[in-house]
Symmetry: C2
Subunit: 346 residues, 2 copies
């Protein structure tokens, strides 16, 4: 029996924390919550949708009659331009507080209300990547910390089915970026090599966690994945941020995003929900050699289109726990077809 | 306008991370997921329930015909007794792995299938606390890290409505315990006082975040709460773990657990879902003077019995974000009745 078949822990070197792996546990009976299946057909245009071309938004503005992508400032953004942050030692040393300065934008991926990245043409995904790059470059003049992300599906708190992502940019470094930066910097100063480059080499040599790969990118279920079908999308070209993407890297990225999201949808034959996002090197560092551009995909489904993994009591209060090995998850994602189930010959 | 009314960040000194607070954001329109209302009446006994007295469980064992509390080893535990953990430097330095040794138990709070802590008599909650203490003491002979927790409600991944919690005990320190320990130890060595004692004094002096209080315990919405109605239950008696509870502390704890869970249920007039759990000082430390026993309550609801807060894209990839201030949440919890809505005069 492989050591991986008994309960064990694995170490996440990007966040300096552990994950509990319980490979035998996926067989327990489930009488808990079931999600709605996200398989329904949506119309190409929805007159109520605040993201469809030409429609009016909550603040009275009209969307452009856009053909490809469309970006606007979030009418209900969690962050707004404000005073530049400086930690104020508040009324008490245990009541530390700082103001926040930033912006929230919404990025519509397509004028077609019914699409997701998984059924968009690669050319159209290319346009999404160029849009990300453009806004990354523009915002990086003002903000060192730029989060580009997507919540897909109601299971991931998405309140609008129209295909879209978000960009939140701000002066301060967010907590996750601080942690990943500290871990990558410590590794670099200890080993004189880059953590994610070394990890890339490990995965290229191994192969058991690889889901998709091309000349510029690789997708793996990371050794330390917490979500059942979590993946990590890594640059093979030593990039530190999205501003550096060249034309070939953009095209290869669109191709691998297409492949990954198709494999996800095919796994349980549904519009596979996830939250995904990019981790760029913070813009306010002279030396970025310890950092590599990467994206995390955190999908919640565990066993089927309707049964998700709950990260609750133990996970919130102790540490993340998973019910199948990362190697098994990668195997399942490799095994499904690379052609979207909706396009199969009937 | 108070500084708290604009977007800001607050520092969590127990985990060394920040939380983004966006007080204006709770007004945005919501077209996303709605939860089932957890208000339905349940029967006192359910023949299918693996937790009801006398019933057969999946492994063929029969539950005792219990009167108060009942504890058994989880038939589908994520952790099982196994080799004592020792970090194995695996095939690669970025593939760190360790075996896990521990146990998972289920703690039934009451034979009555229809109850929750919020509608149990204080005497019966006292018996739950004594049961926790007994198992804590027994397990601490073998395991230094003991997690006592409860997932309540399908929204929190609870697969059985029968009132129950869990105990997972193991050799290794979990990631959250390691982080809280490092933060409390660093504070103690810097200030020569205990972080949570100083925080207790701050909250006693302030009052704006207090939800409930008695001679031995206080419940506050912590200054750095991430979940909308998150609370922190703190010892006033300098306890480090559940093994130290004396009779008066047990009774006072039962009373404040009753008050808190009643206030939670009254907020949106439903069986208020949450995950809660205790953080005991790790058992393998000589000196525990930097640590104080406390419990965290993480409830997901945000606006009503059916609309919860999603900790998704930004929260998973950047940092936790909340849509109302902790002071406002505490105010709302103080404002509701201390008598459970099901017991109001009709
Ligand atoms: O053990 P249960 O109640 O069946 O399962 C629940 O709690 C566990 C501990 O927090 C989680 O790992 C599971 O995802 C959740 O569904
Ligand atoms: O901005 P949206 O899509 O309305 O909202 C969603 O994503 C945000 C950013 O991850 C979260 O803060 C919200 O809880 C979630 O519902």
């Amino acid at each position: 029996m492989s050591v991986f078949e008994s309960p064990h822990r694995r170490y996440n070197p990007l966040l300096d924390e552990w994950v509990l792996v319980s490979p035998h546990r996926n067989n327990r009976p489930w009488q808990g919550a079931v999600e709605a299946v996200a398989g329904e057909e949506l119309p190409v245009y929805e007159s109520d949708c605040p993201l469809c071309p030409g429609n009016e938004r909550a603040n009275g503005e009209l969307n452009a009659d856009y053909q490809h992508t469309f970006v606007f400032t979030n009418d209900f953004g969690a962050i707004k331009p404000g005073p530049v942050p400086s930690t104020v030692e508040f009324s008490h040393p245990l009541a530390r507080f700082e103001p926040v300065d930033g912006v929230c934008r919404v990025v519509c991926f397509s004028p077609d209300h019914s699409k997701t990245l998984a059924d968009m043409a690669i050319d159209d995904i290319t346009r999404v990547v160029y849009t990300w790059r453009q806004h990354y470059l523009e915002l990086s003049n003002d903000y060192p910390c730029i989060h580009i992300f997507e919540n897909k599906g109601t299971a991931m708190g998405c309140s609008q089915p129209h295909p879209h992502g978000q960009i939140w940019a701000h002066q301060h470094r967010s907590s996750e970026i601080e942690k990943e930066n500290a871990c990558q910097a410590a590794y670099f100063s200890e080993k004189a090599s880059c953590l994610l480059d070394d990890y890339l080499q490990m995965e290229l040599a191994d192969g058991s966690r690889t889901v998709a790969e091309n000349n510029h990118w690789i997708v793996v279920v990371p050794y330390w994945a917490k979500w059942p079908f979590e993946t990590l999308l890594l640059t093979k070209s030593g990039l530190t941020d999205m501003g550096q993407l060249d034309e070939q890297q953009v095209e290869a990225l669109a191709a691998i995003l297409s492949e990954l999201t198709i494999r996800y949808d095919n796994l349980f034959r549904c519009r596979f929900p996830y939250s995904m996002g990019w981790h760029n090197a913070p813009g306010d560092m002279e030396d970025k050699s310890h950092w590599r551009l990467h994206a995390h995909f955190y999908p919640p489904l565990l066993r089927s289109a309707t049964v998700k993994k709950f990260m609750v009591g133990y996970e919130m209060l102790a540490e993340s726990q998973r019910d199948l090995t990362p190697e098994r998850a990668a195997h399942l994602l490799r095994e499904v077809s690379g052609v979207h189930y909706s396009k199969e010959a009937q």
